[in-house]
């Protein structure tokens, strides 16, 4: 249920009528599966002298018992614990997948420090500055898009259309290679930051516009009737309410920015992804480097998510009845 209604949904998966057929299906699927793909269990069985169909059957049964027991426990936990358990299990499954690549951990250890000390620092720097600038651009863009001034409207429309419509890479080219044509030679990092800010500013303009438009007209009327200026109304009445609508997609943009900042590497900035790619390239260890970079990105995304949840709670505190 979306809003807590005073109804308890029946625990579907807990019923034997759902539970037992599901496990039976799993068993059959595993029986017919290629044993090459679950080597661990098979290894144990082979060591115990069991092979062929019998071994396969035993292995399938073992997996089914494990899965069943896991589901049984999981479905009876309180909600918080369920969430935590699901996270632990899925993370382990993901880790198992990567272990099967037999990666060179020595290589990762050797390169980790460069990735973090140079790449991550540059990535965070570029993203942070760009997000702040994008935020400012988006505010201005949204107000212009909602104004009745044709010039502001036209410029804002053109801006969002161009900078959303054209690939970010092209924007970096325009700024890095195009501006020197009219006499302005920009450095790599400023060029990258400018392109990122403009591009994300355009996306966020649309988000802000949508958020502002979602606030009922009565709020605007009440504030204006009380004598608040349009700017005060926007800042004190409309935006704080629009935040609830603005934050989730803006969180998306923050997280996406973290990774899109890697595009500025084309102009020679050593950010995280660039280092991961190039470090991997010279020894054909792409998977290792990619994985390491991904984990670093993920950690920072999770931090951003936690921050977002806090901010949402802050702005959502009035949503009681």
């Amino acid at each position: 249920m979306i809003f807590a209604d005073n109804v308890d949904q029946p625990p579907l998966l807990r019923r034997p009528i759902v539970f037992i057929p599901a496990l039976a299906l799993l068993f059959l699927a595993l029986l017919r599966a290629d044993p090459a793909n679950w080597p661990l269990l098979r290894g144990v069985l082979a060591a115990a002298g069991l092979g062929g169909v019998l071994g396969n059957g035993l292995a399938a049964a073992a997996v089914c018992v494990l899965v069943g027991a896991n589901a049984y426990v999981l479905l009876r936990l309180p909600v918080r614990w369920q969430v935590a358990m699901v996270w632990v299990e899925l993370t382990l499954a993901l880790a198992a997948l990567f272990v099967s690549f037999d990666l060179s951990y020595a290589f990762i250890r050797r390169k980790l420090w460069i990735l973090v000390s140079i790449g991550l620092v540059n990535t965070l720097l570029i993203s942070a500055v760009s997000i702040v600038l994008a935020f400012i651009l988006a505010m201005a863009g949204a107000v212009a898009k909602l104004s009745q001034n044709g010039v502001a409207l036209g410029v804002a429309n053109f801006y969002t259309s161009l900078f959303r419509g054209v690939p970010l890479l092209m924007q970096i080219y325009i700024i890095y290679l195009g501006l020197p044509q009219i006499g302005v030679v920009v450095d790599a990092i400023p060029a990258g930051v400018a392109a990122l800010s403009l591009c994300y500013g355009a996306y966020m303009t649309e988000i802000f516009r949508g958020g502002i438009e979602s606030i009922p007209r009565g709020q605007w009327e009440a504030a204006r009737a009380l004598g608040l200026s349009p700017g005060q109304t926007l800042r004190q009445v409309i935006l704080p309410q629009a935040m609830g609508v603005i934050i989730p997609p803006t969180g998306n943009q923050f997280i996406a920015m973290l990774k899109d900042s890697s595009l500025v590497s084309v102009v020679g900035v050593w950010e995280l992804m660039y280092l991961a790619r190039t470090q991997g390239q010279s020894e054909f260890r792409h998977i290792e480097m990619m994985l390491t970079a991904s984990m670093i990105y993920w950690i920072f995304s999770i931090l951003l998510e936690l921050g977002q949840a806090r901010i949402e709670r802050f702005f959502g505190r009035a949503h009681a009845r």
């Binding site: 090459a36 793909n37 080597p39 099967s100 690549f101 037999d102 060179s104 290679l177 020197p180 030679v185 590497s265 084309v266 102009v267 020679g268 660039y274 790619r277 190039t278 470090q279 991997g280 390239q281 010279s282 020894e283 054909f284 260890r285 792409h286 998977i287 990619m290």
Partner: protein, 259 residues
Amino acid sequence: SPASRMRPADTFARVRARGVLTVATNAGWQPQGFIDDSGQLAGFDIDVAREIARRLGVKARFQTPDWSVMTGGHWRGRWDLMVGSATPTRARAHVVDFAGVYYYSPYVFVVNRMSTARRRADLDGRRIGVETGTTSEDYIRRHLEIDDPSAPAVVYSVTPGQVRTYANSMMPFDDLRLPAGARLDAVLAPEQTALQAIRSGYPIRVLPGGYAFREPLTVVTDKDDPAWTARIRRVIAAMKADGALRVITLKWYGRDYSS
């Protein structure tokens, strides 16, 4: 992986059964491998791969995955061979197998047409641009380790003041074309790439004084089938011996790069 160790692949049997040799290659480089105006793959690597397939009695079919995807190994039978101008280095040998060098690519220094540099020595202390993660970067940083006994010994020249690395091979030329050293003084790149840029009207020139070094380029196979690698090595040796490779390099490069 443990699974592949359990059942060694028989690539040759698979290729023969299908009648098709699946080749991973690059489509971004003229004249090595590129998509022509009719949307078909063409180029030196393509012809080499076709010739290998012909000698195996099958047809070649091409795929163009990203460099990082092909070179990570673990092909799982997706490709039988990679003919994509890869350089054999010691570190890479841990991940994939090398089935034989099939040509040598010469590297040159390139400067802006307005540049005052006349000799390689004029570049000492200047800003040199290279594509990152390539042998040109290894060379300019002086740790090029080629895993090929037949390759000529590397002689390092030029002591750069600053090395600027780029994520692709064109950005260095874009910076080099800006008037009078706005961002770069010279670029180290394969001769063919430099000539292509000049043909496209970039205001640059190759610095005289011969090749900086010559980079061997090899056919790559997955690590899971040593017998297959050996078979390909024999085919390439035969192509070198009977002059087939020489003919193909002459066709595409106008020079003999095969030795």
